[in-house]
């Protein structure tokens, strides 16, 4: 009787630990082969045959299609440079230059990967649309209320995800640091109190 109980306990622990770990890793992702530059994170191998099992599990669970390496690369962030989570009620500035690429797009999603509804129907900027400074750098203001310049509306969602995608770019598996790939800074500049 005791043996049966103990075996059952072991199996319950095994199922809890195993499936719990799988759920956590498939939802949050694992830092294998990630490339982190400033606030931005990319997984260059996710667009190749060499995608790791954790990443494959994440992709299968979320239903997204990773961008192929011959096409481009995706950089994601949910935090600003000071590790503060991006908040749709605050003003966030994405400012600077991007790594060499034929085109890039900056897009704002909710946590589930949907673009956020707004009256302008503006969900992001492409490298061609964005208004630049004389030196070629740009500044995108992400805020709930209208702002001058490149305004990206948040519709005051609680948390959001920014994705910077580079298309036809040398950035990839061989890229290591900010020097190879200068990513724009992400800063929260003010929150309504």
């Amino acid at each position: 009787m005791r043996l049966i109980l103990l075996t059952l306990l072991a199996l319950v622990i095994a199922a809890g630990v195993g499936l719990g770990l799988t759920w956590t890793t498939a939802t949050r992702g694992v830092d294998i082969g990630t490339l982190t530059i400033g606030a931005w994170t990319a997984r260059p191998r996710s667009g190749t045959n060499e995608i790791d099992p954790y990443n494959r599990a994440t992709v299968a669970r979320s239903g997204e299609l990773p961008i192929g390496t011959g096409d481009g690369i995706t950089f994601t962030t949910t935090e600003d440079d000071n590790k503060k989570p991006l908040d749709g009620r605050c003003d966030v500035v994405v400012k600077g230059v991007t790594p060499p690429a034929r085109f890039w797009t900056l897009t704002l999603y909710d946590k589930k990967g949907r673009v956020v509804a707004n009256t302008l129907e503006r969900y992001g900027f492409t490298s061609q649309e964005v208004v630049r400074n004389a030196d070629g750098s740009f500044e995108v203001r992400i805020a709930a209320r209208a702002r001058a310049g490149n305004w990206l509306p948040t519709s005051a969602v609680d948390r959001y995800v920014l994705m910077l995608r580079l298309y036809d770019t040398p950035v990839g598996v061989a890229t290591r640091s900010q020097k190879d790939a200068p990513m724009p800074a992400v800063a929260t500049v003010g929150c309504p109190s």
Binding site: I13, A15, L65, T74
Partner: protein
């Protein structure tokens, strides 16, 4: 007491095994992965345009709204596939995914180097069955080996400004993906 401790340790170790098996198995058992979602709205070996990414459309998460997208869900069991995609104004790319959503090949308009991206997709067995001299003479034919018999081809055309979206969609509407019924005769009649 010792027994209980051993049980817990044993349970945790077994949990590690469960974790590994479930991580590796997840892509096989997932029913809401991209391939399954696209399979529900597309037909075999036909280019199907996907609805524009907007707040109400959640077919796939994290799609780039600046792109017009179309898919061809392929099945190579009836023979190799010929894919033709006219290049749009700004940027066009073609990405290949296996049935389990692994991106194994992607090409863009510049690396294709032509006004039209033309590709032959076949399994490795079908590639080997090609007559050898044909493979050489038809050097301008780009042949891609698919690791799986079924999979997805995703065609994307960039609308660099939002007003250019209809043009990007039109470029993809002219794309085609169809089975070459007779692979041996393909280079002759395949040149359209």
């Amino acid at each position: 007491m010792i027994r209980l401790l051993l049980t817990i340790i044993g349970g945790v170790l077994l949990g590690g095994v469960v974790h590994l098996v479930s991580v590796l198995g997840l892509p096989r058992i997932a029913t809401q992965d991209a391939y399954s979602r696209i399979a529900a709205v597309s037909r075999d070996n036909t280019v199907t345009p996907l609805a524009q990414t907007d707040p109400s459309n959640a077919l796939l998460p994290f799609m780039d709204p600046a792109f017009a997208t179309a898919v061809c869900r392929y099945d190579l069991s009836k023979g190799p596939i010929k894919l033709t995609v006219p290049v749009s104004q700004s940027y066009t790319s073609v990405s290949f995914y296996t049935h389990s959503d692994v991106a194994y090949y992607a090409i863009n308009d510049r690396s294709a180097g032509r006004r039209v991206i033309e590709l032959d997709l076949m399994t490795e067995a079908q590639h080997e069955a090609l007559p050898e001299e044909e493979d050489v003479t038809a050097a301008d034919r780009l042949i891609i080996d698919s690791p799986s018999e079924t999979g997805l081809i995703v065609l994307k055309a960039l609308a660099a400004e939002s007003g250019l979206m209809t043009q990007a969609q039109a470029a993809l509407a002219a794309a085609s993906c169809r089975v070459q019924t007779d692979p041996a005769a393909a280079p002759v009649k395949g040149k359209r």
